[in-house]
């Protein structure tokens, strides 16, 4: 990839414009004129040529970039109609307005986290890809999102973050992991019917049920439940069967005590009733679980003699609601979620710049450190990172500016109902300036605020160019 050799570019490595300043300066040492025409006439001609080359650009820049800056400052001092001078009122309003405060807070969160995470990932990728043969392919993959629009990335992540685990891959993975550790039950709504031998156990909130009376070995136990919709029963469910009595063992049946179309007797296993498969049954004596079993497809189970005289309990895990996953795009998580999408887009940018910087790090230095017995982490921490510091600064600064103006991703990914919670300055500016309730005065004040935020970088750029021109 072009990135890793870093040679082709005129200004490839950010520090390189340094050299370019010279071309023009060198020219200053040229003896004025070639002697064929008087100096003054030639100078005037040169100025005319320069003007012809520059004018179109300068006019456009003046009209559409410079003039708007002045106008925004001016306009921010007037009310929404643009006719009444209100002084600093719009700026005071910025401090008062809740939407703006949320926008400022969120923008601060963005500025603190997004560039740091993207740069850290970029650094890790740049360093690690040097060690695998398919590093270039990997870099290409991670860099690719830079080429697409934030709108397309937004649509991509809208799908990733979809709340439905059957649609959004984030929740599909999350729920999958969650269910591995805490499986959802097939019977979230099952409960004892009227006159059931079962009662809520440990208080209704606990969610489990237990028998009223201790059970006896040799006497089949009935654990009737109702409330599961017939079509919600898991696949492989079989008709319930009364458990045969077994001497020295506690047997029983857990089943849906409900006959479709009526006619079933309460607390008796009728022919058309379904067993509850896979339900956990615990024998509890003095608060301790002495034995446990899982029901078979027909709802029957068998416990050892240890269960004799204990209470049988259907613990709450049998009735856990299916886990619905995380609401990524809910009010609480929407900003981190959108930042995740941003990092997906921009880590490649950091990676490519850092990789170019890395290519310029002298290998002998790293090798020497390794020979001296430094571990990889030490080499990374004490040599690579310090040498890359200038590049890291450029990457961070670029991302910070970029993030302060973030608009598209938030606008596209945050659903309408949570846009207030996901609000950022640039979005608030758009909504204030062009919404149904537009206020160009307030919008201009936000614009000025955004401009003020980038002024330090502007000054830094100018200083760097001047320093380089002087060299």
């Amino acid at each position: 990839m072009a990135a890793s050799d870093g040679t082709a570019a005129p200004a490839a490595v950010p520090a390189q414009p340094a050299r370019s300043g010279r071309g023009g300066d060198r020219r200053r040492g040229r003896p004025g004129g070639t002697g064929r025409t008087p100096r003054s006439r030639q100078a005037r001609r040169r100025r005319l040529v320069a003007a012809a080359f520059l004018l179109p650009s300068l006019v456009l820049l003046g009209a559409l970039v410079v003039q708007p800056i002045g106008y925004s400052v001016w306009r921010s001092l007037f009310d929404r109609s643009g006719e009444v001078f209100v002084g600093g009122d719009n700026y005071a309003e910025l401090l008062r307005d809740d939407a703006v405060r949320t926008a400022v807070e969120n923008t601060a969160v963005w500025v603190v986290f997004a560039p740091a995470v993207a740069t850290a990932l970029g650094l890790v990728f740049a360093v690690l890809t040097e060690r695998v043969r398919w590093g270039t392919a990997f870099k290409l993959l991670v860099f690719m999102p830079m080429a697409i629009s934030m709108l397309a990335a937004g649509i991509i992540f809208r799908l990733v973050y979809d709340h439905d685990p059957d649609r959004g891959v984030a929740n599909a993975v999350w729920v999958g992991v969650h269910d591995t550790f805490a499986p959802a039950s097939a019977f979230p709504r099952a409960r004892p019917g009227r006159d059931s031998p079962l009662v809520p156990e440990g208080g209704a909130a606990a969610g489990g049920f237990a028998t009223r009376e201790p059970v006896r070995a040799g006497t089949p136990v009935l654990l009737p439940l109702v409330g599961v919709a017939p079509d919600a029963l898991p696949e492989g469910t079989r008709p319930a069967r009364p458990a045969p009595a077994e001497p020295g063992k506690v047997t029983g049946t857990a089943w849906q005590d409900f006959t479709r179309g009526g006619g079933g007797r309460p607390n008796a296993v009728d022919a058309a009733e379904s067993g509850f498969a896979g339900m956990r049954v615990e024998a509890v004596r003095d608060g301790r679980v002495v034995d446990s079993a899982t029901t078979r497809a027909d709802g029957t189970f068998t416990l050892s003699a240890k269960a004799d005289g204990a209470l049988l309990r259907l613990p709450a895990s049998n009735f856990r609601e299916a886990y619905a996953g995380v609401e990524w795009l809910g009010p609480a998580l929407v900003t981190p979620a959108v930042i995740g999408a941003y990092v997906w887009m921009w880590a490649g940018f950091a990676m490519v710049l850092i990789a170019a910087g890395l290519a310029a790090v002298p290998r002998e230095l790293l090798e020497a450190a390794r020979v001296d017995g430094a571990g990889e982490w030490q080499v990374f921490r004490r040599i690579t990172v310090p040498l890359l510091a200038p590049v890291l600064v450029v990457v961070l600064v670029t991302l910070v500016i970029n993030v302060m103006k973030i608009f598209d991703l938030v606008f596209v990914i945050a659903p309408g109902s949570v846009q207030d919670d996901a609000n950022v300055l640039a979005l608030q500016l758009y909504r204030t300036s062009f919404g149904t309730d537009a206020d160009a005065g307030l919008g201009s004040a936000i614009a000025v605020l955004l401009l003020v935020l980038v002024v330090p970088v502007m000054l830094y750029n100018i200083r760097r160019m001047r320093r380089e021109a002087r060299r």
Binding site: P10, S20, G24, F53, M146, I156, D408, Y430, F434
Partner: protein, 282 residues
């Protein structure tokens, strides 16, 4: 290297591979998700995750794309994106080259100060200009016109173009220009026959960078473009509000809008990378 050391570094190498493979999946999966979705019909998407399309390729269909391409609205907005991106790129290249040349090789009073002023404009957020320029365009009849959007993109692409090209042109060896001057070439010929050809790589990088920038823009289009025939980003954005009911439109639409940038990216990786890296101050 001792045996223990070698074994340890081999294990570390394995860990690095595993980590990178996982990271790669993380980067690939979101896009694959939308891509597969774009080939599933709406009913199929309602029945379950797009990943089922991976195991049953027979379920995939191009019907979504066919419907989208038959619908004039989306093709119309793709054309309007082209109508904006191409002129906005060419204009920036032409104006930027001229100005870059002037800043690099022509002498005139205030040159350095003026160039610094242009450098200062590099980081001006487009948001600052939205209200003022919409009022200006409203006054001169450019609001909601292609020309207006093109001019806006050109103006905001210029600082970077001038910065990049001036720096590149200034690196051209002076002897080459002097030799051409001695042969009697005027400034215009010097520019067209020496500077432009030598500046080719930088101009190409800039062109690709600017083209993708404009192609991918949504905010400027949202404010200034003709709302009756908006560019693709705006057209799709309007659909996002019903996200969930229309993935069969959004997914293929997003991929149609991405096709050109991705083709450009893969065809001109080198130039694109250069442009992005040079733009690190923007």
């Amino acid at each position: 290297m001792s045996f223990v050391h070698a074994a340890a570094s081999k294990a570390a190498g394995g860990a690095v591979r595993v980590f990178l493979v996982l990271a790669g999946l993380f980067w690939l999966l979101p896009t694959i998700g939308l891509l597969v979705s774009s080939f599933l019909d709406a009913g199929e998407l309602d029945r379950g995750g797009w990943w089922r399309g991976l195991t049953a390729p027979a379920r995939l269909t191009t019907a979504n794309y066919e419907r989208l391409l038959a619908d004039g609205a989306i093709t119309g907005s793709l054309l309007s994106t082209v109508a904006i991106a191409v002129p906005a790129t060419l204009l920036v290249l032409v104006l930027g080259s001229c100005a870059g040349y002037a800043f690099a090789w022509l002498e005139f009073p205030g040159r350095d100060a003026l160039f610094l002023a242009v450098v200062a404009l590099l980081v001006v957020p487009v948001q600052v200009a939205l209200i003022p320029v919409s009022e200006l365009f409203g006054a001169i009849g450019l609001f909601e016109t292609t020309a207006g959007v093109v001019l806006f993109h050109t103006a905001f692409g210029l600082p970077f173009a001038v910065f990049l090209l001036r720096n590149f042109f200034a690196q051209i060896p002076r002897e080459l220009l002097e030799a051409a001057r001695l042969d009697g070439a005027g400034e215009l010929r010097l520019f067209a026959q020496v500077v432009l050809p030598l500046g080719g790589p930088a101009i190409a990088s800039l062109g690709i960078f600017q083209f993708l920038w404009v192609w991918n823009d949504m905010l400027v289009a949202l404010v200034f473009a003709d709302s009756a025939n908006p560019p693709i980003t705006v057209a799709l954005q309007q659909q996002v509000r019903q996200f969930g009911n229309n993935i069969d439109v959004l997914a293929p639409g997003a991929f149609l809008s991405m096709a050109v940038p991705l083709a450009v990216f893969f065809a001109f990786q080198r130039q694109f990378t250069t442009g992005v890296m040079a733009g690190a101050v923007k």
